[in-house]
């Protein structure tokens, strides 16, 4: 088994449900099925991209992967080791290998502390290193993410969005993690700055042998960074496969609709591309539809789709789809 085939993180029928309301509220206690029956394998050195509309559960899944949320059902394995219900103190040694970068760097950085200090924080918590070593490491990290050493004494508000995200990334890689979960890391940035961060993430991955789980709603960005893609709809994965393949020949109707909806720069007259416009909205995860959860919006839904829920099946090595009548190529 080569290193790249070795799973680093695995979920088995993972589910996350939230309870909302009380027995005194109008509808009583209800359950939100945010993530439902997700089995996903992340292998060493790859980038798995999670895509889907807002509310499809991709961020919830990301938070489950780093155990920021407790998992309701199913299993989470880190290098084969079951970490589903490990206590916080048991998780601590793992945390240094499993890091996360958030969407809004101005919300995830403490505005009252200097950024040098913020980047040093994980080092202080996890390593028993001296002050001098910490300073040296922070300087090294700043260089790695493209910040200047004299930026260390500044506060987060003194930076632009792109630079703040660099600080967020420096913090995440401070402890030499193996896996970094990136939740919409470029979505809040200006277009001209997005490409810088995408390139930076690619460079870091190569240099530090990182594995990424990358979430973004911008599909072209996800395609650029990912080796594999998982398309989520209403809490479940509906299609999975190599990034370029899924984009070129999506098998699930939902993936087709999603990809065809992306506006692209064309020099030919508009409308040359075939587009599937979905009607209706994403159903509420409070009352997920019966059968295939996509059937109320699916243009090719049949009777079977209303009653029987399709499983995520591997129809070709590396390609999985959850549909009764997928478009196979």
């Amino acid at each position: 088994m080569t290193d790249t085939d070795r799973p680093i993180l695995e979920t088995r029928s993972l589910a996350k449900r939230f309870s909302i309301g009380t027995r005194f509220s109008a509808e009583g206690r209800r359950t939100v099925h945010a993530v439902d029956n997700v089995s996903l394998t992340v292998r060493h050195g790859e980038t798995v991209g999670l895509v889907g509309e807002s509310g499809c559960g991709k961020s919830t899944l990301a938070r489950c992967l780093v155990r920021l949320y407790d998992i309701t059902d199913g299993k989470l394995l880190f290098e084969g080791d079951d970490i589903t219900s490990k206590s916080l103190s048991e998780l601590r040694p793992l945390r240094r290998r499993l890091q996360m970068v958030f969407q809004d760097p101005s919300a995830s950085l403490n505005p009252r502390r200097r950024v040098g200090d913020l980047v040093a924080e994980p080092l202080r918590i996890h390593g028993k290193v001296s002050a001098r070593e910490i300073t040296a490491r922070v300087a090294e990290l700043f260089e790695l993410v493209g910040l200047l050493p004299d930026h260390m004494m500044r506060y987060p508000h003194e930076f632009s969005g792109g630079q703040r995200q660099r600080v967020g990334i420096a913090r995440a890689i401070a402890l030499n993690p193996d896996l970094v979960v990136l939740d919409e890391p470029v979505s809040a940035l200006d277009v001209s700055v997005q490409a810088q961060i995408v390139n930076l993430l690619a460079d870091l991955q190569e240099k530090l042998k990182l594995t990424y789980v990358f979430i973004a709603h911008d599909l072209s960005v996800v395609r650029q960074v990912s080796t594999r893609i998982a398309v989520m709809y209403l809490g479940s994965i509906v299609e999975e496969g190599p990034a370029e393949e899924v984009f070129a020949t999506p098998a699930h109707t939902y993936s087709q609709a999603l990809i065809s909806a992306v506006p692209i720069v064309e020099t030919t007259p508009a409308g040359a591309r075939k587009r599937i416009i979905l009607t209706g909205d994403v159903p509420s995860p409070l009352k997920p539809p019966s059968g295939c959860r996509f059937h109320p919006r699916c243009p090719i839904a049949a009777d079977r789709c209303r009653s029987e829920r399709p499983e995520l099946k591997e129809y070709r090595p590396g390609r999985k789809v959850a549909c009764h009548s997928p478009t196979l190529t």
């Binding site: 200006d190 001209s192 490409a195 810088q196 070129a248 720069v265 020099t267 587009r275 909205d281």
Partner: protein, 317 residues
């Protein structure tokens, strides 16, 4: 000619000194034409359109230049006169539909209010019109939707309600400020489709502000690219995307990862970030980030010239 803007300048007095948010913007808009305005945050795309709408009420702001709507000068028009135009002949759609709707009234009531204010029709007449409008923006069940409150609708539906409101008085000019930025691509596709259909039906002229080159390419007839308060390039859609001339436009197009075909190993990123309007660089504002800058760029600001497809760059002129 619906709209003709000439040498528009907007500056704000701030604590840290004067900020020139818009520095000499000119453009024209014909009937049933869609103009795409592209730019990053701070490029002045929103401020220039707020100026057109007469919505800059900040006492620290100064507006210079000329904004002519159907030949009538809007700069300096008394607020009462402006109010008669706004919402009636000129309508606006904002990025966040939740802030454009009041949470305490139903969708139907809010749209009807606007119709009654501008047209002076009876309440029942207005309500009839609302139902028509909601059907036009593809509400599956318009009659029922009228009695809904904004919080009961999804983001896409709210934006459709705002569009219905904007269309309620058949505006000749529709200004849309990033109306799809907060929406999913699937919903966005539907809204863009709607804008296209409405343009065809009502012959409204549309100014569509966005940071997404893809959206512009799908929707606009003509495109205007803005950077640091100035127009850096303008042209038709085809000119802009098959022959981008300004280094900024080129860089912006190069930094978008492709959705099909070969993946580039690295994206062509633009170094640095957009400049602060308080500390604009000497000469061309894009100079410090520009791959082809040379001495003249630091000496003076390049002008746009008069041709239809023009770029404000010394290298191009």
């Amino acid at each position: 000619m619906i709209l003709s803007v000439r040498d528009l300048k907007v500056s704000f007095r701030t604590h840290d000194g004067p900020v020139r948010a818009i520095d000499g913007v000119s453009f024209d808009l014909e009937e049933s034409e869609i103009l795409g305005v592209v730019g990053e945050s701070g490029s002045g795309k929103t401020v220039s359109l707020l100026a057109v709408m007469g919505l800059i009420t900040d006492p620290n702001a100064t507006i210079e230049g000329s904004i002519r709507y159907k030949g009538r000068e809007l700069v300096g028009l008394p607020p009462r006169e402006l109010r008669r135009l706004r919402g009636n002949e000129i309508a606006m759609i904002f990025q966040d539909p939740m802030t454009a709707l009041t949470p305490v009234y139903t969708i139907g009531w809010q749209i009807a209010e606007q119709i009654r204010a501008h047209r002076g029709v009876s309440k029942s007449k207005a309500m009839e019109r609302v139902e028509q409008l909601l059907a036009e923006v593809n509400f599956p069940n318009p009659h029922e939707a009228m009695s809904r409150y904004p919080h009961q609708l999804s983001g896409g539906m709210r934006q459709r309600a705002v569009i219905a409101m904007a269309l309620s008085c058949d505006p000749a000019l529709l200004v849309a400020d990033e109306p799809t930025t907060a929406l999913d691509v699937t919903v966005q596709a539907g809204i863009l489709d709607l804008v296209r259909k409405l343009r065809a039906k009502h012959k409204s002229a549309v100014v569509f502000i966005t940071h997404d080159m893809g959206v512009v390419s799908e929707l606009a007839d003509r495109v205007m690219v803005m950077y640091a308060g100035r127009v850096v390039e303008r042209g038709t859609r085809t000119e802009m995307f098959s022959d981008p001339r300004h280094p900024y436009t080129r860089a912006l197009l190069g930094s978008i990862p492709p959705l099909t075909g070969e993946k580039p190993r690295r994206l062509l990123a633009i170094p640095g970030s957009p400049p602060s309007l308080l500390r604009l660089p000497q000469g061309c504002a894009f100079g410090p980030r520009c791959p082809v800058r040379y001495e003249p760029c630091e000496a003076g600001k390049p002008g746009l010239g008069a041709s239809a497809h023009a770029a404000a760059c010394f290298r191009v002129a």
